[in-house]
């Protein structure tokens, strides 16, 4: 085998000094590439390990700093009824704000992405895409200020109307906030903030739908809408889930916008009354003046947020894994 190889190399004259070509297979020529390969694999391994180290460092820091909470007597915790009673309204508030945001942003985001990828003529699609991406570039403090000074007053009359006509539903029970700075407004502001995440990720995935599958559907007599349902959405399903989960992560952790928009208070059913709070806003509003037990409380609340986000991610993974066999990746 080796002789054949060097023979042919001699004949084709590709390498000068063909008589040494037998040993050239093992000479230093290639070792430069080998070393590069080793360095690169080391670097990528290092980067992978770094992620774990950072995650572990955050988890350890949070747990360590939060541990004093366990020793504080229940009456000394804010609210005076123990840590769990302190934190569960915040957890619920965080989830409610994120769910409102997702309920609005998911359908809108998917529809906009479909419009850009499959309906709009190229001339329109690009500008619309850029504008959506621009939404992501607006700092959250600006969203917060806008939500507080513009959106809240604009929505206040609507909330009054809601409480008068749909007040029998606990979610819309009156009296509505006069300023409009409610959980509902916070959720709406959050939905605008996470819209670009869902839209731009979904658009990328929709565009990647294999033309083969789109044509297969059309050739069976599908309308464009049916083609989207049959070929595009199933292909994009895991991508859509990932984008929604990413957006959920952003909505759960968003601090400034909620802190500015929401006029915080105790937990309650109504979304349009003054009240409710989220973990992120609670930490942001109180951290600068906190010390001792109060600090441990806030960090423990942060640990809760960390755990919620982890659970959300695990659920997303599980959903994606369930569809693996049918994902088209095989």
């Amino acid at each position: 085998m080796l002789t054949n190889l060097s023979d042919s190399e001699e004949r084709t004259g590709r390498r000068p000094g063909g008589e040494t070509s037998r040993s050239s297979l093992a000479n230093a020529d290639t070792s430069g590439g080998r070393a590069g390969d080793k360095i690169f694999s080391g670097l990528s391994l290092g980067a992978g390990i770094l992620i774990f180290v950072m995650l572990a460092a955050v988890a350890i820091f949070l747990t360590w700093q939060a541990s004093p909470v366990l020793d504080i007597p229940a009456t000394s915790v804010s609210g005076g009824e123990g840590f769990l009673n302190y934190v569960y309204p915040l957890v619920l508030g965080t989830l409610v704000a994120a769910i409102i945001a997702l309920l609005i942003a998911t359908p809108v985001g998917i529809l906009v992405a479909l419009y850009i990828s499959h309906y709009a003529p190229a001339k329109v699609a690009k500008p619309v895409g850029y504008v959506i991406d621009l939404l992501a570039a607006i700092p959250s403090v600006v969203y917060g200020a806008w939500g507080m000074t513009v959106l809240s007053p604009a929505l206040a009359p609507f909330y009054t109307w809601l409480s008068e006509n749909f007040g029998f539903i606990p979610l819309f029970a009156g009296p509505a906030s006069a300023t409009g700075r409610t959980m509902m407004t916070a959720g709406i502001v959050l939905s605008i903030m996470i819209l670009p995440i869902i839209t731009s990720l979904c658009r990328e995935i929709f565009i990647q739908t294999p033309q083969l599958h789109e044509e297969a559907s059309l050739a069976l007599g599908a309308t464009r809408f049916e083609m989207i349902r049959q070929a595009v959405l199933p292909f994009a399903r895991t991508g859509i889930i990932s984008s929604v989960m990413l957006a959920l992560g952003r909505a759960l952790g968003e601090t400034m916008a909620v802190a500015l928009v929401l006029s915080t208070g105790g937990l309650q059913w109504s979304l349009i009354r003054t009240g409710n709070n989220t973990i992120a806003a609670e930490i942001a509003l109180n951290y600068p003046e906190a010390f001792g037990n109060r600090l441990a409380e806030l960090i423990a609340a942060g640990l809760m947020l960390f755990i919620i986000t982890l659970i959300v991610n695990f659920i997303a993974r599980a959903i994606i894994a369930r569809y693996k066999e049918f994902s088209g990746a095989n």
């Binding site: 083969l212 044509e215 050739a219 069976l220 199933p234 049918f326 095989n330």
Partner: protein, 259 residues
Amino acid sequence: MSKRIDVENLNVYYGDFLAVEDVNINIESRSVTAFIGPSGCGKSTFLRTLNRMHEVIPGAYAKGKVMLDGEDLYGKGVDPVTVRSMVGMVFQRPNPFPTMSIRDNVLAGVKLNNKKISRSDADALVESSLKGANLWNEVKDRLDKPGSGLSGGQQQRLCIARTMAVKPDVVLMDEPCSALDPISTIAIEDLIHELKEQFTVVIVTHNMQQAQRVADKTAFFNIEGTGKPGKLVEYDDTATIFQNPSQKATEDYVSGRFG
């Protein structure tokens, strides 16, 4: 059901570019017709005008008449969606829906337009379509497994079954075997022989032996040079095209002197 196709003065454009010029052809029902010719000669483009699939590409359109048993596919008020459910298509590369099971793949076209179909009717249709595509025995125990798990040749037969399940009048095939191995190719060719008992079959192929094996009639398309439109050069019985063509270009092509 099977219908004949009569094409009159068909010109196909991509924007301003004339891709296929002035095609006239009459295709009998219950027959197999092969389109042969060098790459870029417009045979696939022309095939796609027979079910208005070329319109999927922005800027593409056709002028002229394509009559399906006398009904013009390009007439006023004709919906391309209806045309495509009457004229089915099998593509170059097998394209079962990866997210669907084998069973759902077969039913994919039937379930469109919100048509309701009972469980037992669906089962019967799946079985008859898969049997029609000579695939039933290979997949009957794993109908709920994804279609993408099958071999290339099996996937292509699944696509044929999916097309047959819609009960079209015509089946178009765009180089259906070019991505398959010889054994799978033979399976598809055998199937094409059976298909013509029910359907009008039009097949584009680069393989001239294949055209001779499967086709009753053969059409030779050619192009004079890059940037020029493709043209239908000669259309006749397959034996005539390959043994005694009337055009010099046809003879050069089938005897391997070019292309």
